[in-house]
Amino acid sequence: MREVFDFSLEAIKPDRQEVLRLQGIAPHIKPSKRIIALLDEAMEIFMNAANPVGIFSEVTVSKFWDIYKGQGKNEADTPLEHIFPRAEYLALFAFSLGIKISKKIEDLFQKKEFPLGAMLDALASSSAERAVHIAERKYFDFVSAKTNNSKSKVALLYSPGYCGWHISAQKKLFEYLCPEEVGISLNSSFLMIPLKSVSGVLIFGNKEIHVFTNNYLFCSHCQDKSCKQRINMIKK
């Protein structure tokens, strides 16, 4: 099963408070008028420039082993290699906000419009994050509908470049998924173009398969504790 996902612009519209948080402004702080004006301006640009599109393609566990291994550069032990073999369903996934938004951010920095460029970047990051949650939900609904069994299940996305899964695995992921169809390509360093894109594997299965302790060798060097937040969310 291979399908192009529809993402409505309204659904992926960034959350204002999250954007402000990305700019270092905590929820209890009232932003100044000029910051609000900047956010409004960036939001308007975002709504005009964003062109969200996503694609997913189901894959078997055995096929995914090959994709996961990529070019053999993964860490010796990773959480993902303990998660996906226990999955019930897997799908490769890619999403992008389109080329216009990335170019707009680049242009703003080149024109020395730093505050607006940084605000637009934060909007795009927040939006991409929302798109991931929507994709997880859509995939969960898709699998649930065909299996009629969603109790204690969850679908989560894991991406190359994180948690010991080497970025070079993108090559095989792209060879299998072919997201070029929706305008997402890979450069020679295995990075996605447009920049504001997300890729990875959607894993559907029992909640507990996603739970792990972040004491892998590479975890000690990592400041990004989003894995813990995700695990806590599942446990709730």
Binding site: F109, F114, P115, Y162, H221, D224
Partner: protein, 216 residues
């Protein structure tokens, strides 16, 4: 003399307010009035940015405010630069910046660049997906003494170590210093790979560069 000081104070104040047009205009006026380039830079622009930095540190103002001030600083510097070059005032220091090979996330690096320029440093921005050799080549070609590296992907962090190792291999330790940063990067990682500094945000990166260069 008092009039001159007032003008420089005004430059500092408008810079703190992020009013680029006023800063540009007043720098021009200060030059016309015979202020030295160094005075305008140190007592006007840098003085203003230092206050902005302090206010950011104690959460009185936020990233967008700092970037508005940095934009005003850059506008002022554009007017001042020809005079600085003409009078032979050396730059405060040169920093080569880049997002490491295999990583395209450059917003953090861009912000560091803006803040460094705002603090009066010369920035050689290599962009993103920068191979280790490229960092060294740029530092050597441009006589930069600091290399700043950013990474957002945990799997690209080892490229930072490759740059530090390359510096040692070429016997440039001490001559070229390194600062690393990015969401997954830690102080411990910086110590482990032998980087000279770790910076947790763009404002802190400016402090780190100042410390490494021994400037205020």
């Amino acid at each position: 003399m008092e009039v001159k000081m007032d003008l420089l104070n005004q430059i500092s104040q408008y810079l703190q307010d992020g009013d680029e047009e006023k800063v540009f205009e007043l720098v021009k006026e200060a030059i016309d009035q015979g202020n030295t380039a160094q005075d305008i830079l140190n007592r006007g622009l840098i003085a203003g940015m230092n206050i902005v930095g302090q206010r950011f540190k104690v959460h009185e103002i936020f990233l967008p405010d700092v970037l508005m001030s940095a934009k005003a600083m850059v506008a002022g510097m554009e007017e001042l630069k020809p005079l600085l070059i003409k009078t032979g005032i050396p730059s405060r220091g040169k920093v080569v910046l880049g997002t490491v090979q295999g990583d395209l996330h450059d917003i953090g690096k861009n912000l560091v660049g803006v803040m460094l320029k705002g603090a009066g440093f010369e920035v050689i921005d290599l962009g993103n997906d920068v191979p280790p050799e490229e960092f060294l080549r740029a530092a050597s070609d441009r006589q930069a003494t600091i290399i700043g590296m950013s990474a957002l992907l945990t799997t690209t962090m080892p490229v930072m170590k490759s740059v530090v190792d390359l510096i040692k291999e070429k016997n440039l330790s001490g001559k070229i210093k390194t600062i690393i940063g990015g969401a997954p990067v830690t102080k411990e990682y910086a110590q482990e790979i032998g980087a000279d500094k770790y910076s947790y945000d763009a404002s802190h990166a400016v402090e780190s560069v100042k410390e490494l260069l021994g400037v205020n």
